[in-house]
């Protein structure tokens, strides 16, 4: 009986060990970097691969929208799991800096950057930095507009005219940074009251507010909608993908985004994160974007600007106040006002 008891005990012990052994988390190599990437997925993957190849550091990349990454970093704040956040529009990066979610770092590469990129760093007390810039504009489907005899839009006010009824898409600012840049731009171009009047009139011509910032331009490319309000480099990407998409820049002037990069505060691989940070600001690394068919203007002055990219010098850019419109309070106020006054209106 005793023997049986102990045999059973032994058997159960082994069984329990084996059964629980199955719960092991997947192993990872030493010297790793957890990269949260909010650029286009091809770019993210290419950057991760290139950095891994160059340094031997194992990169785990997860691509998510900038809003999603911000939410995740916030949820993980007491115990961060990401190391660096690469790409995505600048506002959420500034918000993260404001909320003390990202770490201060002055890269030796800073002097090589354009002024707007350095200003982004200064505005945030060096918690984030500009890696590319892209102007806001219109994307339109040339075939669809031609079939319906609509002249492509050239100015913000054109979008209010009857031919564009139910033809325009913009993203929902409650989830998309792109759409928020648009609202902030209108407020800066026209003043707040006039801007909201404009948005209310525009609302009639909008057929949907999809959740993701790049969804409208994809809908344009596939002929699901005639016009989108998007970053013009995204339109170029679609055109090169074989779709009849073209972009236009608003004659009244337009805002732009500064795609940014931040190191997450309390990151467990901070040394590797800094290494990635410096690397991402070199011309060689910044060329990866164009190779992956993303045509933003890179922030390093010596990075060659691809011929397909919209030339920033030819765009009538407003003096976008990132410091003001990047704060959480202002953002929340504008988005809530938009939801209350615009999104709830009948079409």
């Amino acid at each position: 009986m005793r023997i049986t008891t102990f045999r059973r005990a032994l058997g159960a012990t082994v069984f329990a060990m084996l059964g629980l052994g199955a719960l092991a988390a997947p192993a990872a190599a030493q010297g790793s970097l957890n990269l949260y990437c909010s650029a286009q997925v091809e770019w993210c993957q290419a950057a991760a691969n290139a950095f891994a190849k160059e340094t031997g550091i194992r990169v785990s990349m997860s691509q998510k929208g900038s809003g999603e990454v911000l939410a995740q970093i916030r949820a993980e704040a007491q115990n961060p799991r990401g190391d660096i956040w690469y790409g995505g529009t600048g506002d959420p990066h500034l918000q993260a800096a404001e909320d003390n979610l990202t770490a201060e770092y002055r890269s030796p590469m800073l002097d090589q950057l354009y002024d707007w990129a350095q200003k982004q760093a200064r505005d945030s007390q060096y918690r984030t930095v500009g890696i590319y810039a892209g102007a806001l504009g219109f994307g339109f489907n040339t075939e669809l507009l031609a079939r319906r005899n609509i002249t492509p839009p050239a100015c913000w006010r054109d979008l209010l005219t009857p031919p564009f009824r139910n033809e325009i898409q913009m993203a929902n600012p409650q989830s998309s940074g792109t759409a928020y840049v648009m609202i902030a731009t209108m407020v800066q171009v026209m003043g707040e009251e006039a801007a909201f009047d404009y948005l209310k009139q525009l609302h009639r011509n909008i057929n949907a507010y999809p959740r993701s910032g790049t969804a409208p331009v994809k809908a344009v490319a596939r002929g699901e909608t005639g016009v989108s309000i998007s970053f013009v480099h995204d339109v170029v990407t679609e055109r090169l993908g074989g779709f009849p998409a073209q972009f236009a820049l608003p004659c009244e002037g337009t805002g732009y985004e500064i795609g940014s990069m931040s190191i997450i505060r309390g990151s467990r691989n901070e040394r590797n994160a800094r290494r990635f940070y410096d690397w991402a600001l070199t011309p060689a690394a910044q060329q990866i974007g164009a190779e992956a068919k993303s045509f933003q203007t890179p922030s390093n002055r010596s990075t060659p600007v691809p011929a397909e990219a919209p030339q920033m010098s030819q765009i009538r850019l407003i003096d976008y106040d990132f410091a003001k419109y990047g704060t959480s309070a202002e953002r929340r106020r504008l988005i809530e006002r938009w939801d209350r006054e615009v999104n709830s209106l009948p079409r």
Partner: protein
Amino acid sequence: MRAAGIAGAAVALIAALFFPWYLAQDGVLTALREIPGWWREADFAPAVLQASSQGRWWLWPAVLAPLAALIAGVAPLPRRARATGFLVAGGAGLALLVVQGLAIGVQGWAWPGLESVFGVLDDRQYGIGWGGSLVAMGLALTASAGLAGRGAFRGDAFTAGCATAIGIGVLLFTFLPLAALLGDAFRDAGGALSPLAAVTRLADDRLWGLGCLAGGPRCGVVWNTLLVATLVGFGTTVLGLAFALLVTRGRLGVALAKPLRWLTVLPIVTPPFILGLGLILIFGRSGVVSQLAADWFGLELGRWIYGLPGILLAQLFAFTPIAFLVLIGVVEGLSPTLEEAASMLRASPEKIFRTVTLPLLMPGLANAFLLGFIESIADFGNAVVLGGSFNVLATEIFFAVVGAQADPGRAATLSLVLLLIACLVFVIQQRLTGGRKSFVSIGGKGDGGLPPALPPRLRRLCLGLALPWAGLTIGLYVLAVSGAFVEIWGRDNTPTLRHLAKAFDFEWTQGLQLTGLAWNSVLTTLELAAIAAPITAGFGILAAWLFSRAKFAGRGLLEFATLLSFAVPGTVIGVAYLRAFNLPPLELAGTGAIIVVCFIFRNLPVGLRSGMAAMAQIDRSLDEASSTLGGNGLDAFRRVLMPLLRPAIIAGLTYAFVRAMTTISAVIFLVTAETELATVFIVNRVINGDYGLAIAVAVVLIVLMLAVLGLAQLAVGRRRIGRRAAIPLSTEPGAAA
């Protein structure tokens, strides 16, 4: 009792002596391989060294409690004293470990009051890893053996161990996260406790507004959700019934019945949102149907698919198979005796169907409706792809968490509403069908009758519903799948393998390099699903055995709690897990373990139900025979029931695997760079509009799962043949009873 107690203590002691106590950042195997002398490092040391040389004195119970239990097990004690020893050592050890885990977190003392008692603590601890979890589990096992020894669970240690494991599991991974979430709803934006916050959020016009009835632009999301869910519930039930009646009683012939059955499997192995995608590609503004309509009739169909019609259509496609699977069991189980009696009394076939067949099907119909309803309110993928500006609770919750206006309190409140709706429908369903218990049509006596054929008019109606639907399903799949193999869907139909290559490219430089975008997520999905499926199935069978065979106090409560995770929509579970497991001691967020645990407890009811159904067919007298011959609970389970349950176990295993592979709503918050899942990869590509890539990955997943299903089918088929001799033995006592 003694064996279980000693085994628990031994597991705990070995873990305390040799396993790293804390969670290792890069996975424990890497650390053990690459860090020489890891047992001396503060991050990796096992409990005994943590306590003796790292100054973490609060970990002493992890070593001393198992030791005490082991002594109680080995020492020559009377049974009752030994049991008390097990109970005290296991219970007290576990309690002390829980207290220290909660009291000392990543920033030292978790509660300020402790500092005045114990002084300033210049230390912190992360979540428990292997050592910590194994010690806790071992101690729990020992304590449960002690309980059994003192007479609980009818003195059976196996029953006690199972009940404890399931009880702790459900408590930790269903109750606690939901409770934490519930608490979040009553905090304001700053995190302070404020019961008013929930009231304010609940009163939000965006939830309950009825503007659309008065010609306004939108109704509240709650009404939207209820509308969609009710329509989907009815739609899937009607379609599922039509299919089930046709397949069983439609006299279709094998040529039609078999493909119809297989057609129903397809949506189950399809990542849900791929259907939404296919609908866009067909019915979207530039889809096939719209183009044909424009070319042939000059009609502009426009964007009608975005919004309620699209969500409805996609969910009907996705969830009809589930209704079918529920209903076909009920229709097949229907004994023809009553219908034959009605027929002999000269009732017309129509009247028989209306007054006899349909009423007997009521529990099945209600069950199918409930499943369709709950699946619909929990569905996130279709709603985000096809919703346009039409919002439902699942998408609202998602964007309350990740949107530009992140608001955890709002997410929690919305989850609460979703949970309440689910529970309400569950209760209503139970009331409607549970009150009258006279649905039983299978008695112990044999019934050799043939089921009557469908009345001709009803048959035509069913065919009229089912055949176009089947045709649409086939068309949808052909067109959707072709999206993976053409340049640009709907625009450039040149055949290409470009998307497949982009997803699954690899090169040979210094060994195999997987450069495709989808490799990481697909491999992770396979790995995690393969880990979760056997545990889910095993747990499910154990729970089924426990609930249908064992008797102990609190069984009803435990059974209800297990089912809770089924009634809770996936989005809610996901938010709750993220909320509950980001901090020590159970710091699971960001690991593969949290996803595995989520799979297990979310899919547990599936294995449980199939297990309970199968067990109901096996007569109790077999267990009793085993008991009479001196076997304990484990023997009856292992030697008698397991061999008889093999087909059910395999079915549970495959279903758990498939569900793990296709889950999206629950895991979308839990994935990280390390543990990205294929479904999340696909939904991200869809959100970005990379349809070709998304479909390519989905097609590969579907092929993988069909292969798994086929293999399982083979395995079950073989076993059935082998069991032929055994069947009469196992069913005879049931027939005689």
